[in-house]
Subunit: 190 residues, 2 copies
Amino acid sequence: MKAGLSKEKIIIIAAKMADEKGLAELTLKALADELGIKPPSLYKHFNGGLDELNKELMLYGWRMLDGEITKAVIGKAKDDAVIALCHTYRKFVSEHKGLFEAMQWYNMYQSEEHLQASAGSVDIIYRSLSSYEMTDEQKVHTVRMIRAFLQGFSTIEVHVGSNYPVPLDDSFDFALRTILSGIADMKGDE
Amino acid sequence: MKAGLSKEKIIIIAAKMADEKGLAELTLKALADELGIKPPSLYKHFNGGLDELNKELMLYGWRMLDGEITKAVIGKAKDDAVIALCHTYRKFVSEHKGLFEAMQWYNMYQSEEHLQASAGSVDIIYRSLSSYEMTDEQKVHTVRMIRAFLQGFSTIEVHVGSNYPVPLDDSFDFALRTILSGIADMKGDE
DNA sequence: ACAATAATGCTAATTGCATTAGCTATTATA
DNA sequence: TATAATAGCTAATGCAATTAGCATTATTGT
């Protein structure tokens, strides 16, 4: 029986499963069960097995995040753009915990493809900074700083949950203000 | 034959293996081979098997990092303390990539023990901020910001490596200055 | 329309690691 | 010194990933 599956459809289902159950629960067996096929059949779509599935999830996640950030930043500049970007990133992670895990996974395989995967987001952050008066080098630093903060904050948030006397929302906004204020002070620095 | 092993000794070896080969390569089989024993024997030390080993590595890593940070901030205050703390954190991660992976692992098991594991470092960051004029709430925010930045930056660095026209060292220092400058501006904010 | 080919699914079998059960030797202790 | 706890072992099980080879369904060129 043919199930009429395609790589794309499978990835979408797999992403949903990863988001619901966590990436570790996304086994070929579980995915096959969900799709109504047998595990070996998945190799017809993913020659590289589980590894390739994870890789594809990673790429899918970055593409999706790129898209959402791009949309969010349209028509905005400077602080407004950075704020929109950061909130979009954080929201994305909260809605796609499993995909986010997969996206952090690109360390194990250092191919061109993987390096480019996250390059998209880096590029968007970079372009969002275009209207600031900074040197190119300062922009690179700033991109890295923002990226590190976003990734770190999101990871911690995903791991730790959201129970605390001091809400994480406030901390996020606070940190964002701090970073923006730091950027504003940047002019004179070497 | 008795190999004269103890939980502590095994954890130290396991940590070394994880740092050298990556956490994923640290299987019970590989560890047993390294120790010159058979995999089932490990259950005499780690009742919970692989899970418990990972948990212990996580705790070991946090304790070690706590110790190094504590040492590094002794006799320092304000910016000096924060700078020392951040550099120590980053250096630790670069020298203990495998342990760092394990330390990020605490999401899966949400026990008291695990929550306290990272609480130590949080506490040290918090205390390092003691000489700033901030409200307690601002301190909580600042701790989270620093922690997010450190974790994010380190993760990216571990994943991506250190090849680039613009050196990561510079970006790290730049971000640190930006954050410190943001902190300095903080006074008036609500 | 129809043969050839590619695509997609299956079953059966293999591998490798984690884990459990039960046995044995060694160490520590009462 | 007898006894209990410790730390190792072998044998066996289970589970997921993977590979090989077969069967069926689509697709495509003529």
